[in-house]
Symmetry: C2
Subunit: 337 residues, 2 copies
């Protein structure tokens, strides 16, 4: 009799658990394991991936000479050692200028999985996005003509651009951004949640599964969905109640407005949180989201379960060997501090 | 008869060349190839190298949270992708402060081979040197108490310090510097010149050997000698004629003074040159040294030959995978931009 009760409980619990898996598979997608399937997800038909492009793009991602000062590279604010972010509330750039809209640097890891880039979602892909910070005065402050003249002055770059873009004669700004984007497209970090989505229910602990269930049932997943666990849509922020640390007017003339829903992969590694990086605790970030977006007050247990689930989204970062960058020549424009 | 003439010429030329090798071996030393011999050169009895120390030190070298702002790490100015320097005339640091003495960031590659550190040679080893920039207001601006409280607040660092320094209870500032120095001690870059010094005369081209001969005979090697091709002594600068771009008073109250003779390994990769980074061309740097230190005017051919030799000192940098740094906790002090 005891055995029958046990088996019944086991089956009910298994069915219940299996239902959560099916529900999750309908809302999210795993990062594929096979090279071919992954390539379909990360490739851009307008900027086909190639080894040569990724190699060049990695160099350019780490290249501080893409900035006017020669001191700031993409990697300065999208620090690949720190979850792809700078770990600061407000991004800092050329001549220590803080982002004039108090914006926090988003991560480059898994950004390829998003349908839009920048906090206001104005950019459709990484190729378009990569140009922005290079030219922006408060970031790298380098006019595209300066960038191109630096790259053209260094024979090794000229060669590498020819290999990466055989149809083009010499480095140009579009191809600079395309190469950087190609490298960034490789920066995906599969996690235990992907193993779960692929059917391994043991990949998530009981608390993580409880957190996942709450994340779905309480409404978080209505925006944070898809392969990026977010990153696929914009949403009004704040929606129900005011945001206590400022409002979205930080970049929308002081009024609530439409904001990109950030992807939550690696969220435990990419604090501080929100567009203005005002919140350092992931628990508090979950509480605030519940209030501002869902009009709910989560219990401590709910927050703890959801945070446990969110931590299961921390993935393995790819191994990245730092590139060796070529020397300047006599015709390379000198950095302007 | 022709054969005899040829053989005689060959032997004379070989003898001549062999004499240069012997002379070079008396002045310089090769970076050893074997692990044991290399270890004798790079190890510090007061800070014995260990895998655990080097692993931790690499993380700390790339750790921007060692700075007050959370934005600047050792790697910011000693960029391992750019020959271990920042490629700027004047070092820039906390809140974009330029070095108040207009000093140029020296390379970390092969600094372990030097007998003193900093431009004025005030520091006897890397363990002592590593503390300076962390605390200096115009560099990383982090008081040691702040550094230690940040490290203590991150459990992964506490564990790694215990592994690296089993006798010590918790992270402290001395051990932070020791770990960084341990990593830096591994940053040596053997070059073709080392192959030459070990007896492979074909490792240097004819012009490079001519340049080496001139480098010795014209007096450059009287200061730039030893395993670091410099880095072993201080010398008055300028010695014979004034330095045209400023004087050593940049850090000596406006008067000529004793300056560390920089090591010339990788010199072709570590411009701009001199303590104030005023010279971008290696050719011009050689001309200036001839004038200010030797009271000579080198011919164009001399400069070209010596520069050819100097380029043979560009070595292979070690493969470095970027580290993953641990997340902050609730008790980690927040960065102060």
């Amino acid at each position: 009799m005891k055995l029958i009760i046990f088996l019944t409980m086991f089956c009910v619990s298994h069915l219940y658990s299996n239902e959560l898996l099916k529900q999750s598979q309908a809302i999210f997608q795993a990062i594929p394991s096979s090279y071919e399937a992954l390539n379909k997800v990360i490739d851009n038909p307008q900027n086909k991936l190639s080894k040569e492009k990724v190699k060049l793009g990695k160099m350019l991602f780490f290249e501080p000479r893409l900035s006017k000062s020669g001191f700031i590279s993409c990697a300065s604010c999208h620090n690949l050692s720190l979850g792809g972010v700078d770990g600061l509330s407000t991004a800092v750039g050329h001549r220590w200028t803080k982002n004039p809209h108090h914006l926090n640097s988003p991560t480059v890891y898994n950004a390829v999985l998003h349908k839009m880039q920048f906090w206001d979602g104005r950019s459709k892909d990484l190729e378009d996005q990569a140009k922005g910070p290079i030219e922006a005065g408060p970031e790298m402050a380098a006019p595209k003509e300066l960038v191109v003249s630096k790259l053209k002055s260094i024979p090794e770059y000229v060669k590498l651009f020819k290999k990466a873009f055989p149809k083009d004669k010499e480095p140009d700004f579009d191809n600079t951004a395309k190469a950087i984007a190609a490298f960034e497209r490789t920066l995906v970090t599969p996690s235990r949640f992907d193993e779960y989505l692929k059917g391994d229910e043991d990949a998530l602990s009981a608390q993580e599964q409880t957190g996942l269930k709450k994340f779905i049932n309480k409404g978080c997943a209505s925006c944070h969905s898809g392969i990026g666990v977010g990153g696929s849509m914009k949403q009004m922020f704040p929606l129900v109640k005011p945001y206590k640390y400022a409002n979205i007017g930080d970049f929308n003339d002081g009024k609530p407005g439409m904001v990109k829903v950030p992807g939550l992969r690696n969220i435990a590694l990419t604090g501080p949180y929100f567009h203005n990086g005002a919140v350092w605790s992931l628990e508090e970030a979950v509480e605030i989201m519940a209030e501002t977006q869902l009009g709910q007050k989560f219990s401590k247990e709910d927050v703890s379960d959801i945070v446990a689930f969110l931590k299961s989204l921390s993935g393995d970062t790819p191994k990245i060997e730092i590139p060796t960058l070529p020397r300047y020549t006599k015709s390379t424009p000198i950095p302007e501090l």
